[in-house]
Symmetry: C2
């Protein structure tokens, strides 16, 4: 029997208060259209019935969901395990809250991102790490929902949040070069889908270009065989370092493309009896909160993770009802190197005699 006591609707309130549905709606949304005492009476009756407007019905009628979606090609569980992502999401959340928007995560549903996008009821989409070539972005564009691409070198006319990866990476490598390092190991982020790794837009390619430029300035080449790839996690960092070590590599410095991987490398090195930074220098990328807390504190390339999130929300919000400004609406943030304790001059035993090419 007990039919779960159906929640009261606007019609119930209207009936009970002896007014029309419209009046009830006005009482909550535009009280100035009603006399003060009518409003009071309606609100009274409503709270007596503990009426709560159904958010879904409201969304349908207003054709607004008051929600922004964060879209990622990875499964949510890997996303949430990734502190880089957490910091970005924190930024999104801050700006969304300020704008009165809820945050929803859109990630592959039963393996299909496309399906997830269809199911998602959002007013705007923040797509992170999604190449501009991904089919889903076509789908999003067609759907007419405002969107912004984050961390994916986008077509020049796509709204996007970017970061100056190349000069950040360059600064990192230059720092090591100045400390006398000549023998590097690069730990890169493997692309989500095989094959995409070759494309120059992928973050690993961009950063690698920076590393190489700085090395080239000192007359050194970073060959492909000293770059090793893995997932952007601490485990990934351990694994990558161990693989390189087993491969016979004995670098004096590690250039990791994510702090998480750098932390993994730190640990792997320690387990091999290497002291950081005395025997090995390590520099990361991202400047996560934890980077200050590692031992030694991590030298890394700073990028404004939270700010990126906030700015993404802003872009997507006023990309809304037919973007006002005709400009591309892209935003590139600067990066800079933060020198902490994980880098030092190259150990004397490993110092290379300057060659007499000059």
């Amino acid at each position: 029997m007990e039919q779960a006591t159906r929640r009261s609707t606007i019609a119930d309130v209207a009936r009970a208060a002896g007014v029309s549905k419209a009046a009830v709606s006005f009482a909550f949304n535009t009280p100035e259209r009603l006399s003060t005492d009518t409003v009071a009476r309606i609100r009274d009756v409503a709270s007596g019935l503990d009426y709560r407007p159904d958010p879904v019905a409201r969304m349908l009628a207003q054709r607004r969901t008051w929600t922004v979606g964060i879209l990622t090609p990875q499964a949510l569980d890997v996303i949430f395990s990734n502190p880089y992502f957490g910091e970005f999401a924190a930024g999104v959340a801050t700006a969304a809250e300020a704008a009165g928007l809820a945050v929803q995560f859109i990630s592959p549903l039963h393996g299909s991102l496309a399906r997830a996008v269809d199911r998602a009821s959002v007013d705007g989409i923040i797509a992170v790490g999604l190449g501009a070539d991904h089919p889903e972005i076509g789908q999003i564009r067609r759907s007419g929902i405002p969107y912004v691409l984050v961390d994916s070198t986008a077509l020049p006319d796509e709204p996007a949040i970017l970061v100056d990866d190349e000069s950040g990476a360059r600064a990192a490598a230059a720092h090591l070069v100045n400390l006398g390092h000549r023998s590097f190991l690069v730990i890169g982020i493997e692309p989500p889908s095989a094959g995409a790794g070759a494309e120059p837009a992928w973050v690993t390619s961009r950063r690698l270009r920076g590393y190489r430029a700085a090395a080239a300035d000192a007359g050194i080449a970073i060959q492909d065989d000293v770059v090793v790839l893995g997932p952007a996690s601490m485990e990934g960092g351990i694994e990558a370092f161990q693989r390189a070590w087993a491969d016979g590599q004995r670098p004096t410095a590690v250039l990791a493309m994510s702090d998480a991987m750098a932390i993994g490398a730190l640990r792997a090195a320690r387990e091999l009896g290497l002291r950081v930074p005395a025997d090995l220098s390590v520099v990361g990328f991202d400047d996560l909160d934890v980077a200050q807390y590692t031992d030694p504190p991590l030298t890394t390339v700073h990028q404004p993770n939270r700010q990126k999130g906030e700015e993404a929300v802003r872009l997507v919000i006023d990309g809304g009802p037919r973007r006002k400004s005709p400009e591309p609406a892209q935003h590139q943030f600067a990066t800079h190197l933060v020198v902490r304790g994980s880098t030092a001059v190259v150990p004397p035993s490993r110092q290379e005699v300057p060659d007499d090419r000059s």
Copy 2:
């Protein structure tokens, strides 16, 4: 002019295909009700118009949102910055994805949790860290949405996910006692709202009871003046440790109620020139992923963060249409101590002579 090319609706498709709206709906949801070729034709027309059923309209009609909400009293930005939360959310996401549900975060909107709850369109709510006394849980219960309380000693008849805090804490303290420690500093988690800290249900109280029980077994009392509170973050840990130190405390062991705070304590201690674990032992709580990567690796109390999230989803799902089982639907997970490198025997200089009470 250009009216943003209104998306095509079910009516458009019906018209174009020369069938009724119902037929279109059937073609997608219950194709067996239509002849195969009609289905094919409708689908064809639909994809030609690139029709995509409006998820909001669907939600309204079905009265299901296919979404679970994670509700927290803290603002989203602090949530996302907290790795403990990330791991829990990862668990939720895993189970939600498996069940075909989206995940939405519900947190104070413009400072009001109640408002956020009203706005949220979800089929179930996972409330974390929300005391059973919080007014919002009354609101949720009245709304009729299935819910589950996490990490908050609930009334016995509330669906809840719990963890055996007390015995975990007890094991941690017992470990230190066995190593000869007698002088402790307890770093606890400060309650979200002032005043709630006194209640015995608060997590800090539960864990403190465990610590005290183990200490009492060895005839030592942990007085209130050696417990210091702060937010559950690395900064909070630093701050708490420094405060205690400034206060003149010189413990040989730290019992931190969260790994994040333990990491902060680790750093603060190092900055004061203390070696861990030689001069100071530290044990955390949570067993976050990072706990394995600190230096030294952190001895801590393990709790199954991800599993908690998964189980929460399960409970909330089948708490759905009038819960089948009449039982309370609570689930308590066990905890256990994981000994790693941050604890060691008390330094000789600090060893207390056993008193001759015996």
